[in-house]
Subunit: 240 residues, 2 copies
DNA sequence: CGGCGTTGTTGCGCCAGAGCAAACTTTGGC
DNA sequence: GCCAAAGTTTGCTCTGGCGCAACAACGCCG
C-alpha cells in the first residue's frame, strides 16, 4: 500500500483540527483504492465493512426500493466522506455507491472507527457536522419536493451540482462528471421523459447546452431566477 | 431551578454510557422548561441559543419556505433531542419548533455544547447516531415522495406516528397528540383536501376512526398492506 | 347557551406530468 | 468501420390529485 502524504488531506473537514502526527496515525490504517467507472464501491444491504474519503472522481449514492425503483441520494465530490454507516450506528450500508467516473478513495475498515474515535474524539465531532449538513440538504430536498414544480426542482438540482462539481468552460459551467437524464429524474422525483422535455426547452432558450451525459449551464443566473419563480408568476407577465 | 433526578434520563440515547456522576455534571447546566400548547420553543432563523431534550409532551419541527409554505420536518417524542443546531455547526435554527401539547423539556445553552463535548466526547458520538438516524428517516421520506402515491405516503406517515407516539386504546392505536389534516398534508407533501378525502375513505372502510385533530388506527396491519401496495395492484383484483 | 373561529368534508373542473410508444443519435466494442 | 447498446427526443393519451368553492361540524369563549 502506498503511503499517502498527509498534507494532501489535512484540509478536509473530516481532519480539521488534526496535527501531522495524528493525521499520520489515522492515515496509516487506510488503504487507497481505485474505483473503475460504473463499478459499485458497495451495495445497499451489504455488511458495512469500510468507510471512505473520496480523493478523485465522483461517486453516486442511490437507494433501491423493494419495487426496484431507484432514487439518487447524492453525488459525492472529492474530499467528502461516504459509507460512514458504522459511525451512525448501522450494520449495513443503506445505499449503493457507484463510481460515475474513474475515481480514487481512501478506505478504512469499519472496525477501526470505534478505536479511532476513542483516541481522536474530534473525528466524531467533525463527522457530526458533515452528517448534519447532509441532513440539512435532505430536508431541503423534502421541502422542494413538497412545494415546488418539477421544472423548479430540476433547476435547483442542476445549480447544486454545478456549485458542488462545476467546471468553468468557455460557454458557462459544466457539470464535471457524466450524468444522464435518468439520473436527474431520480434526483428530482420525476421521469426521464419530463427531464428530457424540460432540458430541451431550456436548450432552445439558450439557458443550457447539453449532450449525452453532459450538461453545461450557460446562464446560471437565469436558471436561478427560474428556480425561485412561484408557479403563479411568469417572465412575460400575463395581461389581465 | 429544580434539580432533576439523573435516573429519569439516564436511559436516553443521548446519555448512553454515562455514569451517575457525569450525568449529574451535565444535568447541572440544564434548566427545565414548560412549553405551553401551541407556543413556539424557537423560530426558524433565530439565533440558536439552546439545545433541548424533550421530557413530556410533543413538539413539531417545521420549515417555512420563502413563499410562506410550511413543511413539517418531524414530530419530537419524549426522550428525543431537538434544536441541536450548534452541534451540527449551524448558527441559527433551521426550523421552527412548536409544542403541540403542553410539554416539558430540558434546555442547555448552546455555549455549553463545546465545553461538554470536550469533556464528554461520548456526547458527540451519541448525537452522531441520533442525527444519523434522522438522516435515514429523511432519506426514506425522499424515496417515498419520489416513488409512491399520496395514499401510500399518508399511510406510511400515520404508521410511523403510531409507532413513535401511539397509545393503545380500546379500538386500536391512537396518535397521542393533536394532529390536523393540514399537519399530515405538510408531512406528506400534499394538500389538506386530499388528506381529508383519503382519511374519509379509510374511515368508511373501517381502517381508522378519526375526529377533530384525532386519529385512531383500527387496523394497522391492513393499513400497512395498503402502504406497501404497488400502484398497479389492488385488493379486489380487476377482471380482465 | 348562542355565536364565531377553527377544522373538516365534499363536489367539480382542470392540468402538470406520468405512462406508453416509437424513432433517432451517439458511442464504444469488436 | 459496422453493429449493438445505451441514451435521448418527442408525440399522444390519460389521470391523480390540486385548486377552488361552499358547506358542515365541532368546541371554545363570552
Amino acid at each position: 500500500m502506498a503511503t499517502l502524504d498527509p498534507s494532501l488531506v489535512a484540509h478536509l473537514p473530516l481532519f480539521s483540527g488534526f496535527g501531522a502526527d495524528q493525521l499520520g496515525e489515522i492515515l496509516r490504517e487506510a488503504r487507497s483504492l481505485r474505483l473503475a467507472k460504473n463499478n459499485a464501491v458497495f451495495e445497499q444491504g451489504e455488511d458495512a465493512h469500510s468507510f471512505f474519503v473520496l480523493l478523485h472522481g465522483h461517486v453516486r449514492a442511490s437507494k433501491t426500493t423493494p419495487a426496484g425503483e431507484q432514487v439518487v441520494v447524492r453525488y459525492v465530490a472529492p474530499g467528502e466522506t461516504f459509507g460512514v454507516a458504522t459511525a451512525i450506528g448501522l450494520q449495513r450500508y443503506p445505499a449503493t455507491a457507484t463510481a460515475v467516473d474513474d475515481s480514487v478513495a481512501l478506505a478504512w475498515p469499519s472496525t477501526a472507527w470505534p478505536r479511532l474515535v476513542e483516541k481522536f474524539p474530534a473525528l466524531a465531532v467533525n463527522t457530526l457536522q458533515t452528517v448534519g449538513n447532509r441532513l440539512q440538504e435532505s430536508h431541503t430536498r423534502v421541502v422542494e419536493m413538497s412545494t415546488q414544480q418539477v421544472e423548479q426542482r430540476i433547476a435547483h438540482a442542476l445549480l447544486r451540482l454545478a456549485k458542488q462539481s462545476g467546471r468553468k468552460v468557455e460557454h458557462g459551467v459544466e457539470i464535471d462528471f457524466p450524468i444522464s437524464r435518468q439520473d436527474i429524474a431520480q434526483m428530482t422525483g420525476t421521469t426521464l421523459h419530463t427531464v428530457s422535455r424540460t432540458l430541451s426547452g431550456w436548450e432552445q432558450r439558450g439557458l443550457i447546452e447539453s449532450g449525452r451525459q453532459r450538461i453545461v449551464l450557460r446562464e446560471p443566473h437565469k436558471l436561478l431566477v427560474l428556480a425561485e419563480e412561484t408557479p403563479g408568476e411568469s417572465t412575460s407577465p400575463t395581461r389581465p
